[in-house]
């Protein structure tokens, strides 16, 4: 039977009580503490920084591709805060170093008025869809450092997208580019049953949530 509200499980008390639950923890999440699970579906690519490029295309004034050195010439920007994976772990106080996505969009002449959606795509072919509003205004980064060190390959190095206010499958590893569109185009996990937006605070895990 479908159960709109959870029924108590006999004998389950929970390791963390609801009353003293860390307010940084969205519903249904647990604190991964020192671990950082790796959850990619594909083979980790052998991608050297010198071969990495990042493209902003589609509905922007001047589609453009940056090399590693060109991207690093942009103003440095950092994200310090929490991240949340749909598989239910969260990680507090992480530090990603890179460049704000706003700087790349500005470098491409800015979004055209019709641009409303984004497809983020990886050098592996992975894709994730996002509303444009979720990656502008200081809410998204291209990151190549984690905790002051180069981003490890299994976590998306040499560079990944970081959109920390959404579940982390949106933060495409081995980021290759963004395509700005006037319509929504589901990405890899969204075609596999996951939610189109993925707000952890609204528990937007799966299609239909």
């Amino acid at each position: 039977m479908t159960s709109p509200s959870p029924a108590p499980t006999r004998g389950f008390t929970g390791r963390a009580r609801a009353a003293d639950r860390d307010p940084r923890l969205p519903p249904g999440q647990y604190d991964a503490r020192d671990t950082w699970p790796v959850l990619s579906a594909e083979v980790t690519p052998d991608l050297a920084a010198a071969d990495w490029t990042f493209r902003v295309g589609g509905l922007v004034a001047r589609p453009r591709t940056w090399t590693w050195d060109e991207a690093h010439a942009l103003p440095a920007s950092e994200y310090r805060g929490d991240i949340h994976c749909v598989t239910s772990w969260s990680k507090f106080g992480v530090r990603f170093g890179g460049v704000s996505l706003d700087a790349f969009l500005a470098g491409a002449g800015g979004p055209l008025p019709a641009a409303k959606h984004v497809v983020a795509y990886s050098h592996t072919g992975y894709t994730a869809n996002l509303p444009l509003a979720d990656v502008t205004g200081g809410r998204a980064w291209i990151a190549w450092e984690y905790d002051g060190a180069p981003l490890p390959p299994e976590h998306g190095g040499p560079a990944r997208l970081v959109v920390p206010h959404l579940y982390f499958w949106k933060s495409a590893k081995w980021i290759a580019g963004l395509e700005l569109l006037d319509h929504d185009e589901p990405g890899f996990w969204e075609k596999n049953g996951y939610h189109h937006r993925g707000d952890p605070w609204r528990e937007e895990r799966y299609a239909g949530d």
Partner: protein, 254 residues
């Protein structure tokens, strides 16, 4: 500079997906969205750390081998904990499904299941979830699993046997010792077991007979499941052995 053009007349640049094609298995959005009561009908200890839970789920809409579900526990005050678990059972018409769960040290959900849960209890599940790692039995499949990573792969083997499929299916499963090997009595001619404490880890030599000339017509779909360390190692061996990167699917147990 690498500016190439200007204006919005540039054709879309999103490259084709270069790894295992997503979406070839349709996922029911309705099934994924609803929590259902699941009655624990049987608890069966597999190894020191792994236990199989048989669940009666009256409205289960079926699944494909390789899919997982989310299981939820709720405390009296409303606190919930939920985790993903792979389905171990083959799709059948029994109205029941099986999960095999590793007892993670300090694990909130696996700890409850292993030490508190008993037959007759209910938990909640939603699913099946994700079509990416699923195998409907349509293509030759090469399965590489380690530890509890063998769980979704066993669903594939059970499906292969139950449906009487003739499509090639091979499993290489590794465990630390014979005592740690989940489903030890159930493997047949399709399986090679690697006991890592005595034999060392999976090597290129284990894969060589299955790659190159050993490939079936049309090649393998490869499915890797285990820890991230195992997934990295096994996927590298496959790529080095000539398996196309776009025909490797990986489920990492974080």
């Amino acid at each position: 500079m690498t500016d190439t053009s200007s204006g919005a007349s540039v054709p879309p640049f999103v490259p084709p997906t270069a790894f295992a094609v997503p979406g070839r298995i349709a996922v029911s959005e309705q099934a994924a969205a609803h929590w259902q009561q699941a009655l624990i009908t049987r608890i069966h200890r597999e190894t020191r750390a792994a236990t199989t839970f048989r669940l009666k789920v009256p409205e289960w809409q079926g699944h494909l081998p390789g899919q997982h579900l989310m299981l939820r526990l709720t405390a009296a005050d409303g606190y919930v904990a939920q985790r993903h678990y792979s389905l171990a059972s083959a799709p059948d018409d029994s109205g029941e499904i099986e999960l095999t769960v590793d007892h993670v040290p300090g694990g909130e959900v696996s700890g409850h299941l292993h030490t508190v849960a008993r037959e007759g209890d209910t938990v909640e599940v939603r699913g099946p979830l994700s079509g990416f790692f699923a195998w409907p039995g349509d293509r030759p499949a090469l399965l590489l699993g380690a530890g509890s990573g063998v769980v979704p792969l066993m669903s594939m083997i059970r499906h292969h046997r139950r449906a009487g499929l003739t499509v090639p299916l091979r499993l290489l499963v590794s465990a630390r010792t014979r005592e740690d090997l989940i489903y030890a009595d159930e493997y047949g001619a399709e399986t090679d077991v690697i006991l890592t404490r005595s034999e060392g880890r999976l090597r290129a030599g284990h894969l060589a007979p299955l790659l190159g000339d050993g490939r079936p017509d049309g090649g393998w779909e490869a499915y890797i499941c285990g820890s991230n360390g195992f997934a990295e190692h096994a996927s590298r061996l496959l790529v080095d052995g000539g398996q196309p990167v776009d025909r490797i699917r990986i489920e990492r147990f974080g």
